[in-house]
């Protein structure tokens, strides 16, 4: 396996690592994979997950690029003065331009975790070279909408957590001995009571509020959405996206959940499960991407 450090973009300000299987450097029958930053973490990804994923996909024959967007990791901050979301699209397109020029590849699969998942959708909506996306624990909502829902989302994930531990003796022992986080429990109970008293309903969202729904409605491309059980992204999906996905015409995205894990897959077994989930999906979709 070959790993090369690269520096690219208009001002040579973006830093990335390109991974290829040895001897398959010029295989252009497959699209290339581009991994986008998860939050403010640099290109190695949470718990070095991007490195593991890049190497596994490269072993199969994919060219994989993981890079730092402007202002993240080792890449310079852009001097263009444009909105951050817009800059992310520009940077990812620069990564695609680079691979097109150097590797002669013009189709791309984008993969992102958390805010990285949101970026995959933004770029796919704007660039037809994207032929598939994998969003891991993405929210796919405007920040203002997400903020307005934060109380519901928090109550939802806390409710799931308490229901899951209802029959767990250790949890009850912690509660009785005063070691539980009482503030969290109180917040959950208070929010639930408020909902009942005010007969509040969850905020009504439209299809157009969710970037992923907008993408799926307008473009037909393979999409994998992965959620971890312990991520509030899963609650957001249930509250906003799940029902509306069923109403979509055309191919539906594949939804996978990974149990017993947190938002960034911090335990090794959950990282391994995520790796297998992504790999299996790509293998299933491979035929649709190969140029004969």
């Amino acid at each position: 396996m070959l790993e090369n450090s690269i520096i690219f973009g208009n001002h040579k300000s973006l830093v990335g690592i390109c991974t290829n299987a040895e001897g398959q450097d010029k295989d252009i029958s497959l699209p290339a994979i581009i991994l986008l930053n998860a939050g403010i973490l640099h290109r190695v990804g949470p718990n070095r997950f991007h490195v593991k994923l890049a190497r596994k996909m490269a072993e199969y024959g994919f060219t994989v690029l993981r890079f730092d967007q402007s202002g993240k990791g080792d890449s310079e901050t852009s001097k263009k003065g444009i909105e951050f979301e817009e800059q992310t699209v520009c940077d990812t397109r620069a990564a695609m331009d680079y691979l097109s020029f150097v590797k002669n590849i013009d189709r791309f699969i984008l993969i992102g975790i958390c805010s990285g998942a949101d970026y995959t959708v933004n770029v796919a909506y704007r660039d037809e070279r994207v032929v598939g996306i994998i969003g891991i624990n993405g929210y796919y909502l405007d920040n203002a909408i997400l903020e307005s829902m934060s109380s519901d989302i928090t109550a939802s994930i806390q409710g799931r957590y308490y229901r899951k531990n209802l029959f767990n003796i250790k949890s009850w022992m912690r509660f009785i001995s005063g070691k539980s986080n009482i503030c969290k429990i109180w917040h959950y109970v208070k929010t639930k009571i408020e909902h009942i008293l005010k007969k509040e309903k969850q905020k009504v969202l439209f299809e157009s509020d969710s970037t992923i729904l907008k993408l799926l409605k307008n473009y037909n491309m393979p999409v994998l959405l992965v959620y971890s059980e312990g991520s509030s992204a899963w609650d957001t999906f249930q509250m906003v996206i799940a029902d509306q996905i069923n109403n979509l015409s055309g191919d539906k995205p594949v939804i996978k959940t990974i149990d017993k894990t947190d938002h960034v897959f911090a335990l090794l077994e959950s990282q391994s499960n995520l790796l297998d989930t992504v790999y299996q999906w790509v293998m299933n979709e491979e035929r649709s991407w190969i140029i004969s």
Partner: protein, 269 residues
């Protein structure tokens, strides 16, 4: 312009980024950064980057690199070990000295990186100075501390039921494996029993307020007649996962202090 590069020998290639001096102010010194490991590496990356850029702006040659099995370097996480990482630091020193032509060489390390930097500096005579930022004094205490943080973080997480990884043979800490080989090497680390020769310029930084180990280490160095400058700059423990503070925090006072200390050493030369 910065220069990302792979260096060292196949198959243990190391990834690094060379930051050249941003302007020439007749400083002829180069700095190798020695990162912590595991989740602490992830959490401190942003701070290190800030420090690297500050030093390059001050006219220093800087190399930030990843140990074998860490970050962007070759190898799997479980292949990393103390002996290898010390060799990696020595390799990085050679790479930077050759590439920059700088005559003076300094090491900056945080947490286990500081300890590794100290151990590496004792294997060669061309290290002019070293910055030890919260070094790990006792490997045994370090493992205990990591385990405690890991369990605290698991408590209240959806991941807590996956406890099969918490046995002694197959242990993991905050997303990274802690192999038996690494554990036994860590347990052997005790800066209070070895004989260390400190470089001419040594700065010991304590940033937490309750670190008995660092006090003992200072006392030990005094007993050994090894002189080092010491400073306590209270700052958030940026390397700790789940302490409720943002990952984006950079302890600017410490960055500033290190930068000024290094510049003053250059002026003295």
């Amino acid at each position: 312009m910065i220069e990302p590069l792979y260096f060292g020998k196949e198959p243990k290639l190391l990834f690094g980024i060379y930051y050249p001096p941003r302007h020439n102010n007749n400083i002829d010194a180069a700095i190798v950064f020695c990162s912590p490991i595991g989740q602490e590496y992830m959490r401190s990356h942003r701070t290190f980057l800030h420090l690297v850029k500050t030093l390059a702006l001050n006219g220093l040659h800087v190399l930030k690199f990843d140990y074998y099995g860490c970050g962007d370097s070759a190898g799997k996480c479980e292949e990393g070990n103390i002996d290898q990482w010390i060799l990696d630091i020595l390799e990085a020193i050679d790479e930077l000295k050759e590439g920059s032509g700088a005559k003076q060489l300094y090491l900056i390390g945080l947490r286990l990186g500081a300890t590794l930097a100290l151990l590496a500096s004792n294997r060669r005579s061309d290290v002019d100075g070293i910055v030890l930022w919260e070094p790990i004094v006792s490997g045994i205490n370090y493992i205990d501390e990591l385990r405690k943080t890991h369990h605290q973080w698991l408590n209240g997480s959806f991941s807590k039921n996956m406890s099969k990884h918490n046995n002694e043979d197959e242990e993991e800490i905050l997303g990274f494996p802690l192999t038996n080989a690494l554990k036994s090497q860590l347990r052997a680390i005790d800066l209070l029993t070895g004989v260390y020769v400190l470089p001419a310029n040594t700065l010991l930084i304590e940033s937490s307020t309750n670190k008995k180990d660092i006090d003992c280490f200072r006392q030990y160095l005094n007993e050994q007649n090894e002189a080092c400058e010491y400073v306590n700059i209270p700052a958030p423990q940026i390397w700790v996962k789940g302490n409720g503070e943002s990952k984006a925090i950079v302890p600017l006072r410490i960055v500033q202090y290190i930068s000024e200390w290094l510049t003053s050493k250059q002026r003295a030369c």
